[in-house]
C-alpha cells in the first residue's frame, strides 16, 4: 500500500485502515490524485471530533459513509464516460485511463451475466432464495416505514428540539393560572412560555351541528411552535385580551370538509357553543398539536387581574428553550421556583407531596409512549432478517458444495481466488438487489396493511409513507444483507486445494466437509436467534393475557355509548331532556337498560375535586381529600355492569328536591373510612355554599383510568342533584345503552330518538364499551400481534434451515448410510443417528439462544406487565416449541435415510 506511507496515528489506525477500504469505492484515477489527502482529511476530522468521544467518531464515520455513497458513484460514472470518450477518439496514444478500472468493469459485466445465467438455470433455488430475502427485507422496510413516519420525519414545527412541554409531577400534571404567570415572568431558561387547555364545543350554523375539539391557547402558543397559518393571519397578543372580539383558527381538516377548502372562510362567522366567532386563519395540513382531534384553536384569554386559585390545575404548558438553555437546566430552574412556592404558600401545597416540575422535549410527549413498541418491533424484524440471511447463506453454501468441481476447474484454468470471491459476491449482490426490489414491493403492500390495522391512537400515522429515507434504508438493508449472506459462502467456495474436488470420484464425498461444518454453525446461530424472538414474543403475549384477565369492575360486553352535547343556552333543564331520552331508549327492543354519565370509564375523567368529610372543619384546601367526581343518572351502575356492594344505587326518587345522596367506590371508602361502613357518612364539596351529602351506597372498584392504572377514589352523584350537590349540571353527557345483542344494532334507533327530541343536538364519539377497552390497550395489542407474527416467521425460517442442513447432510451421507445398513445396522439406529445430529445442533442453539433471550428480555422490561423478564415457564414453552419444530425438521430427512436401499447407495445412485 503506497498510500499508507506516513505512519498513522496509533489511536486512529483501525479507522484509517477502514477509510482506505472506503476509498476503494472511488475510481483509481481519483484515488491516485486525492486518496492520501482524503486520508489526511479524515484523520483531521477524527482528531477534531475525538474530544466528543465515541459520539464524535460515529458522527465522522456517518458523514464519511454518506459522503462516499453520494460521491463515489458519480466519480465512477465520470471516470467511465471519460474512459469511453478516450476510447472513442483514440488510437492508442496517451490515454490516461487506468487498466484496473476497465478490467474491473469488464469482469463485473461478465460476472453479472454468469450469475444471471446461474439463476435461470436453477429456478426453484432462485425462487426460494428470493422469497426468503423478500420476506426478510419486506418486513424490515415495512416496519421502518412506520418508524420513519412516526419518529424520524421532522415534526411540523421549527427547531422542535428546542420546544418542550412543562408539567408538574403528581398529584396533578397540569398547572394553575398563577403558576403559569410566575413561570412566564421569572423563568430565564425559556424565550417564551405559553399555556393551553383543551375542551369541546358545539359548532353550529350552516349544516348539521357538530361536536368539535377545541384548544384554548394563550398568547405565544403559535410563535413557540413557529407555525404560521396556511391562509389568514395568526393570533396577535391583542387577540388574547378579554373583551376583544372572539376569533378562531381552524384546522386544515375542518376547513376541507366543513368549508370545502374555500379561502373565503377567512372572516366568516362560526358559532361555538352559540358564541359568534370570526375565523381568522386556517392552519397547515400537517399541524396537529396538541392532538390530531383538535379542529379549532381560540385564545385562552386569562384575566391577569382575576386569576383562579393556585391549586386549580388545568393548564398545559409549552415553552421554547432559550439559546444556551438545556432541558436539565430549565427543569432545575423551574424546580427552584416550585420550592419557593411551597415555602410561600404552605396552605396550598402539601409538604408530603412536594411539587416537582418536569420538562420534556415535545417529541417525547408526542411519540414517547409509542417508541418502546416501535423499537421492539424494529428489533424483531432485524432478527427475522438475520435468520433469513443465515438461511440463504446456508442454501448458497450447500449449492456451492455441488459447484465445487466447477470452481476447481475455473481455478485450475487460472482464475485467481480474488476473482472467484468477486464472482460469488456478484451473485449474492444480485440476489440482494432482486430480493430488495421484491421486498420493497412487499413493504409497499405491507405498510398499507399495517396502517389499516394500526391502532388509531398511534401518533402521526398520516406521516407514514414510503419516502427517500425508506428507499435509502431498503437499499442499505439489501446491500448489508447481500454482504452478510454472501461473504461466508464466497470465502468458503474459493478456498481449498483446487485439485482435490477434481480427484474425487462421485461416489463418496467427504463425510463432513468444511461447508457442512459451516452450515451447522449457521443452524446453531439460527436456532439461537429464533429462541430470542420467540421468547420476546412469548413475554409480550403473556403480558397481554395478564391485562386481559384483569377484572375491570364493569362489563364492557354489549354496551353502546355516545356523547350528547346540549347547547348551553337552550337547555335550562337538561335533567328532563336526559330523563326523557333514557326512558324512550329503554323502551326500544333489544335494549336492556340505558343511563347517562358525565364520564365513561377509560375515556377521560373529570379531574379531582376537593371535599370535606363528616362535618370536620378544615383550615386549608391542602388538607382536603380529592376524589374523582362522576355524575350519573339512575340505572347507570346496572347499564355499566357495576356491582353495588352495600347500600343502594340511585333511583328516580333521588330528585333535585330530595335529600342529597352519593355513592362511593371501595377505593374512596378505604381511604376515608378504613375499616368502617361508608353508608351514612357525609361529604361536601369544598366551599361554603354546597350542602352536605349522605353516602347511601358502596360500589365495587372499576378500572376507570385504564387497565394498568390504580383505581382512583370516586364519588358518584345523581345527575338530577349534581347542580346542587356537585357544583353544576354538566351538559355534555355520555349515553350508556346496555343491549341484549350487538350494541350497534340499536345505534340508528337511538340516534333517531335523540334527534326526535331535538334536531340541533350533536351526537359524537359513538362507540361500544368493548371498543373503548380495546383502544386502551390497542398499542400493545397491535405490537404483540406483529411480534408474534414475526416470531412465527422466524420459527418457520429456522425450521426450514434445520431441515435444509440435515437433509443435505443425509444426501451427502447416502453412501455411508448404505454401507452401515449393508453391514447390518438397523433402520432405527440409522434414524437415531440422523435425529441425534439435528438435536445436537438444536440444543446448542437453544443454549446460546437462552442466554441471548435473557439479555433481550431485560431490554423489553419496560413493556412487560405481570411477567418477570426471566419468566421460566415462557422459556420452557419456547424451548419445547423449538425442539418440536427441530424434531419435525429432522424427522423428514431421517425417514429418507431409513429408506436408503443399501445396494443402490453403494452403487452410487
Amino acid at each position: 500500500m503506497r498510500r499508507a506511507r506516513g505512519a498513522p496515528a496509533p489511536d486512529g489506525a483501525w479507522s484509517e485502515r477502514c477509510y482506505h477500504l472506503l476509498l476503494r469505492l472511488y475510481p483509481r484515477s481519483f484515488r491516485d490524485r486525492f486518496g492520501h489527502e482524503m486520508v489526511d482529511f479524515h484523520r483531521d476530522r477524527l482528531r477534531a471530533e475525538c474530544a466528543r468521544g465515541w459520539r464524535g467518531v460515529i458522527a465522522v464515520w456517518l458523514g464519511a459513509l454518506l459522503d462516499a455513497a453520494a460521491t463515489a458513484p458519480l466519480e465512477r460514472a465520470n471516470a467511465l464516460t471519460r474512459w469511453i470518450d478516450a476510447r472513442r477518439h483514440l488510437t492508442g496514444a496517451s490515454t490516461t485511463h487506468h487498466l484496473e478500472d476497465d478490467e474491473m468493469l469488464w469482469s463485473l459485466r461478465q460476472d453479472v451475466r454468469y450469475a444471471l445465467r446461474g439463476m435461470r438455470r436453477e429456478p426453484a433455488f432462485t425462487a426460494v432464495v428470493l422469497a426468503t430475502l423478500a420476506l426478510g427485507i419486506g418486513a424490515n422496510v415495512s416496519i421502518f416505514t412506520i418508524v420513519n413516519g412516526v419518529m424520524f420525519r421532522p415534526l411540523p414545527f421549527y427547531t422542535p428540539e428546542r420546544i418542550v412541554e412543562i408539567a408538574q409531577s403528581a398529584p396533578t400534571t397540569s398547572i394553575s393560572e398563577p403558576e403559569f404567570m410566575d413561570y412566564r415572568r421569572d423563568a430565564r431558561a425559556f424565550t417564551q412560555i405559553a399555556a393551553f387547555a383543551t375542551t369541546a364545543a358545539s359548532l353550529t350554523g350552516g349544516q348539521e351541528p357538530e361536536r368539535v375539539d377545541v384548544a384554548r391557547v394563550s398568547d405565544g402558543f403559535f410563535p413557540i411552535l413557529s407555525v404560521p397559518p396556511r391562509i389568514g393571519r395568526a393570533f396577535t397578543a391583542d387577540d388574547d385580551v378579554r373583551g376583544h372580539p372572539p376569533v378562531a383558527e381552524i384546522s386544515y381538516g375542518l376547513w376541507q370538509w366543513r368549508f370545502g377548502g374555500d379561502p373565503g372562510v377567512i372572516g366568516r362567522t362560526i358559532h361555538l357553543d352559540g358564541q359568534a366567532t370570526t375565523v381568522i386563519g386556517v392552519l397547515p395540513k400537517r399541524f396537529d398539536y396538541p392532538s390530531p382531534r383538535i379542529d379549532v384553536w381560540v385564545p385562552l384569554r386569562l384575566d391577569p387581574a382575576k386569576l383562579w386559585t393556585r391549586n386549580n390545575h388545568y393548564l398545559r404548558l409549552i415553552g421554547r428553550l432559550a439559546l444556551r438553555a438545556t432541558v436539565a437546566g430549565a427543569s432545575a430552574e423551574l424546580n427552584t421556583m416550585d420550592r419557593r412556592w411551597m415555602r410561600d404558600y404552605p396552605d396550598i401545597y402539601f409538604p408530603e407531596h412536594p411539587l416537582s416540575a418536569t420538562v420534556t422535549p415535545i417529541a417525547d410527549t408526542i411519540y414517547g409512549a409509542t417508541r418502546p413498541y416501535l423499537v421492539a418491533l424494529l428489533g424483531a424484524v432485524g432478527f427475522v432478517l438475520l435468520i433469513a440471511c443465515v438461511n440463504v447463506a446456508n442454501l448458497l453454501l450447500a449449492r456451492g458444495e455441488s459447484r465445487r468441481k466447477e470452481l476447481a476447474i475455473r481455478a485450475a484454468l487460472g482464475a485467481s481466488r480474488r476473482r472467484l470471491v468477486r464472482q460469488a459476491l456478484t451473485e449474492s449482490g444480485l440476489f440482494a438487489l432482486f430480493g430488495g426490489a421484491l421486498g420493497l414491493l412487499l413493504a409497499w403492500g405491507g405498510t398499507r396493511v399495517l396502517l389499516a390495522i394500526a391502532p388509531s391512537s398511534t401518533p402521526r400515522l398520516d406521516e407514514v409513507h414510503i419516502d427517500v429515507s425508506v428507499l435509502a434504508f431498503a437499499a442499505a438493508v439489501s446491500l448489508a444483507t447481500g454482504l452478510l449472506f454472501g461473504l461466508v459462502p464466497a470465502l468458503r467456495g474459493s478456498r481449498g486445494d483446487s485439485a482435490d474436488p477434481l480427484k474425487e470420484g462421485t461416489r463418496a464425498p467427504a463425510p463432513a466437509s468444511g461447508a457442512q461444518r459451516t452450515g451447522r454453525v449457521l443452524v446453531v446461530a439460527e436456532v439461537a436467534l429464533a429462541v430470542v424472538m420467540l421468547f420476546g414474543a412469548g413475554l409480550m403475549v403473556r403480558s397481554l393475557w395478564t391485562l386481559q384477565a384483569v377484572d375491570l369492575g364493569f362489563d364492557p360486553l354489549n354496551v353502546l355509548t355516545m356523547q350528547i352535547s346540549l347547547p348551553p343556552k337552550a337547555y335550562p333543564n337538561a335533567v328532563q331532556f336526559f330523563q326523557e331520552l333514557t326512558t324512550r331508549v329503554r323502551a326500544m327492543p333489544g335494549v336492556r337498560t340505558a343511563a347517562v354519565a358525565g364520564w365513561l370509564p377509560m375515556d377521560g375523567d373529570g379531574g379531582r375535586w376537593s371535599i370535606m368529610v363528616d362535618g370536620r372543619v378544615l383550615k386549608t384546601i391542602s388538607e382536603a381529600p380529592s376524589p374523582e367526581p362522576e355524575q350519573v343518572s339512575p340505572g347507570y351502575f346496572e347499564a355499566m355492569g357495576m356491582q353495588i356492594v352495600r347500600g343502594r344505587a340511585f333511583t328516580d326518587a333521588d330528585r333535585a328536591d330530595a335529600p342529597m345522596v352519593a355513592v362511593v367506590n371501595e377505593a374512596m371508602a378505604r381511604e376515608l373510612w378504613p375499616g368502617e361502613d361508608p353508608i351514612g357518612h357525609t361529604i361536601k364539596m369544598f366551599g361554603d355554599k354546597a350542602p352536605w351529602v349522605t353516602v347511601v351506597g358502596l360500589v365495587k372498584d372499576s378500572r376507570s383510568e385504564g387497565i394498568r392504572a390504580d383505581v382512583p377514589p370516586t364519588m358518584f352523584f345523581p345527575y338530577a342533584q349534581a347542580g346542587t350537590s356537585a357544583y353544576y349540571t354538566p351538559l355534555t353527557m355520555s349515553l350508556v345503552v346496555r343491549t341484549t345483542d350487538d350494541p350497534f344494532a340499536v345505534a340508528g334507533a337511538v340516534r333517531a330518538a335523540v334527534h326526535a327530541l331535538d334536531r340541533n343536538v350533536p351526537i359524537s364519539s359513538m362507540q361500544s364499551m368493548g371498543q373503548i377497552v380495546a383502544n386502551s390497550i390497542a398499542d400493545r395489542h397491535f405490537s404483540t400481534m406483529l411480534l408474534s407474527a414475526f416470531a412465527a416467521l422466524a420459527l418457520l425460517l429456522a425450521g426450514i434451515g434445520i431441515y435444509g442442513v440435515i437433509a443435505y447432510g443425509v444426501s451427502q451421507r447416502t453412501y455411508e448410510i448404505g454401507l452401515r445398513m449393508a453391514l447390518g445396522a438397523q433402520r432405527g439406529s440409522v434414524m437415531a443417528l440422523v435425529m441425534a445430529q439435528g438435536l445436537r445442533l438444536t440444543l446448542a442453539g437453544l443454549a446460546i439462544g437462552i442466554v441471548g433471550a435473557l439479555v433481550v428480555a431485560r431490554a423489553l422490561r419496560s413493556l412487560l406487565v405481570g411477567v418477570p423478564p426471566m419468566d421460566l415457564p415462557t422459556l420452557g414453552v419456547v424451548s419445547l416449541v423449538l425442539a418440536g419444530i427441530a424434531l419435525l425438521a429432522c424427522a423428514l430427512p431421517a425417514r429418507r435415510a431409513m429408506a436408503v436401499a443399501p445396494t443402490e447407495a453403494l452403487r452410487g445412485g
Binding site: 489527502e37 482524503m38 489526511d40 482529511f41 476530522r45 464519511a64 459522503d67 453520494a70 470518450d85 478516450a86
Partner: protein, 123 residues
C-alpha cells in the same frame, strides 16, 4: 481530454455550484489545504455547511480540471505538517471567474432589495 476553459470569458463556467463558490471564496484569502478549506467554510457559514472529503475533493477536481484552481506547490515546514499535504490556490482565471460570479450575485441581491425581500444595507 481536459477542457481548457482558460481561453474563454470568465463568465463561461457560471453559475458555480454553491460548494464551488465557497471553495473559491475561501481560497481567495490565501492558499489552503483541503481540511483548511473545510474549516474556513464551516467558520463562514456558522456551521451550516460542513463538506465531507468526497464532496470537497470532487469539487476540487472539477475546479482543477477547469483551471480555476491549482496545486500551489507550497509545502509548510515538515515539523509543522505532513509533507504530503497539498495546498491549493486560485489561478488568475479562477479569480476572474469568482469575481464574475460575485457580480452576478450582487445583481441578484440588488434585485431582492428593490423588491423588498430584504432591506437594503447602507454601504
Amino acid at each position: 481530454m481536459l477542457h481548457d476553459r482558460s481561453h474563454r470569458a470568465p463568465t463561461a463556467p457560471l453559475p458555480l455550484k454553491p460548494i464551488e463558490l465557497l471553495i473559491l471564496t475561501m481560497l481567495a484569502a490565501g492558499d489552503r489545504h483541503g481540511y483548511g478549506i473545510r474549516q474556513d467554510i464551516i467558520d463562514h457559514t456558522d456551521g451550516a455547511i460542513r463538506p465531507e472529503a468526497g464532496n470537497l475533493y470532487r469539487s476540487i477536481r472539477y475546479l482543477i480540471d477547469d483551471r480555476l484552481v491549482e496545486d500551489s506547490g507550497r509545502r509548510p515546514a515538515t515539523e509543522l505538517d505532513d509533507e504530503r499535504r497539498r495546498y491549493y490556490r486560485l489561478t488568475p482565471f479562477g479569480r476572474r471567474v469568482l469575481a464574475a460570479e460575485m457580480r452576478r450575485l450582487r445583481a441578484l441581491v440588488r434585485l431582492a432589495e428593490a423588491r423588498r425581500v430584504i432591506t437594503p444595507e447602507s454601504a
